[in-house]
Symmetry: none
Subunit: 200 residues, 4 copies
């Protein structure tokens, strides 16, 4: 009985390890070559397993991609929510979220390259993940406009603009990392909050 359990455990461990190696490999390969450039065989090789093994863990190439995107999105969302919860007002929420975004990017370069890099957003999942963030931002903007912290405007447009700022700034930074995440986050947050023009 114990033996059986142990063996099962061992198997489960092995499965789990292979699974981890595959995601990690997929992350690296997809980040480096993009969805179309990444071949299933590349991912398997990078993970040190056979091609067939890949298909024991994922039904299709698209599936890994989806999993990575979704995982990244949910982690990021969680961290943003945490950050938001500590914030006192919409402006603060916005600033903290931007910081979270850049720090998350700093810690998960490959994941970011996959989702926001070149050859990304061609896929629906990526787009819907992005809309999810936009929706949260819309909420916050509306709140800020209502209580007068924010100037009035079109919340949906603003939200899209903010998402675009962050994504674009990140994908630039991911390839030219002469500045720190904090610095970029600060610059972007400042721009979002006060704009370019010097106060009257």
């Amino acid at each position: 009985m114990e033996a059986g359990t142990e063996k099962q455990d061992r198997r489960a461990d092995r499965r789990a390890r292979t699974a981890r190696e595959l995601v990690a490999a997929a992350e690296r390969v997809l980040a480096a070559k993009g969805y179309h450039g990444a071949k299933v065989a590349d991912i398997a090789r990078e993970a040190g397993v056979g091609v067939g093994t890949f298909y024991l863990y994922y039904p299709t190439k698209e599936a890994v991609f989806l999993e990575l995107v979704e995982e990244a999105a949910s982690q990021l969302k969680a961290q943003m929510q945490e950050a938001s919860s500590e914030a006192s007002n919409p402006a603060d929420v916005s600033r903290r979220r931007i910081e979270v975004f850049f720090h998350f990017a700093a810690r998960n370069r490959d994941l970011f390259r996959i989702i926001f890099g070149h050859d990304a957003s061609f896929h629906d999942v990526v787009r819907s993940a992005q809309s999810m963030f936009a929706a949260d931002i819309v909420q916050n903007i509306r709140g800020g406009m209502e209580n007068g912290v924010f100037r009035t405007g079109h919340p949906e447009i603003w939200a899209q603009a903010l998402v675009g700022m962050c994504i674009h700034a990140v994908s630039w930074w991911v390839e030219h990392d002469e500045v720190s995440a904090t610095e970029v986050a600060g610059q972007v947050a400042a721009l979002a909050q006060h704009g370019m023009v010097n106060g009257h």
Copy 2:
């Protein structure tokens, strides 16, 4: 005597018509399906010609794509330069450019989808076209910071953020056109200039 010339003209007309149909078809198909999703056969069918005909006008599939991107980029650049030349200060330049961007998008939806849409920026031409715009923006920002119109900041990061704002807002708007180009442009410009937070 004139017969030869007439015949040549007729031929030239035909060539020109087919050529136009092909570009147009390529524009539509590439916009709708993205570079990877668009098959040469699709473009030919959409243009109402045989596959072979495509290759009488373009050496490869990539070639049409490049032509479209380059043409769009150069048109846009030209219009932006014209707009800039009429502006009195960096803030004005920025606002006008944003307007030009959105109006151009309004008039050239498909072209825009190709360059800034999903499944775009995986290609070097697209990326370099985007950098070109970013570079111009950096110039303007630097000018604005130097003469005090703009607050100080990291021009490169700001430029990337601005490009991101516009691209993202446009690609959102292109699919949800409940608001006018002018409205979107105005909102984005306002955000870029003054930020979200209420003054003083």
Copy 3:
């Protein structure tokens, strides 16, 4: 009446001229690029006519090739027969034929390249033209063996060997013309008649 005839003549002339230009062009292009490398469009361009025109004179690409091969073969055959008729014995016939072969090659390089050059003999016509020559040679060899001028041997094999010698020597010479046709012909004829080994 006269006018009509004149017009007809003029037309006929023109046709003849275009025809000549096409054969000439085909000869050059086929010689330069080989059957597979030569495109119908290349031939038409070289002849200064449209692709369609090519098909007014030849039903297929293969047809020009055949015509060239056959024409060359029949000219060569005729010249060889003339040379043979002046010869006094089989050895003389053989020597004269070899001379004719090389001189013909010298005067019709392109034709030779087409028939005996690289990328030639893949085609049945070429092979049957070659057999025709071989058959004539067999006759001569048999004659020579019968009257004791030639040593005895297998006439068919000898004939093939002789054809091979000439063809190969020509196709080498066609690309390395540091020696004269007469010289090559002399060397080959001598070899064919007396062999390499010094007479006891």
Copy 4:
């Protein structure tokens, strides 16, 4: 313990078998149809595998062709060298080489058809393989001329003529095998050594 190794062996065996079937199929198909007439799909079908499988073993169609040519050339060269080493004088070398050539052809018909058959020599490898043989022959002829075994003449031309004799005789024989390889070789060698004309 051995299980892994066994499985690997099994796989290796399979790979090797498929590989052998592919070369064999390629040899047959290329010999029968020539380089241009042979389609990759034909080779795959003849080997009893899918098209894709072909590309697991060779990067291009050209690659199999090259491999076959090179292998044949190197085997033939090796056998000729061995034969030459046992010979006592240039005339003997020449005779033995001719014998080796014909016997090799007898044992490797398809390989021969590929290299020396119709639709062959259009390719650089084939031509350079042929030059290699010619170069060796030139050496031997020069030797023979220097020590008086051979009559004097133009070694390069003789070598080309000899190569031509052999190739042509072989490609004739390959399709009309009423005589033995030894017989053909003997006839060709005799012709090469003593020529057609009866020494008085």
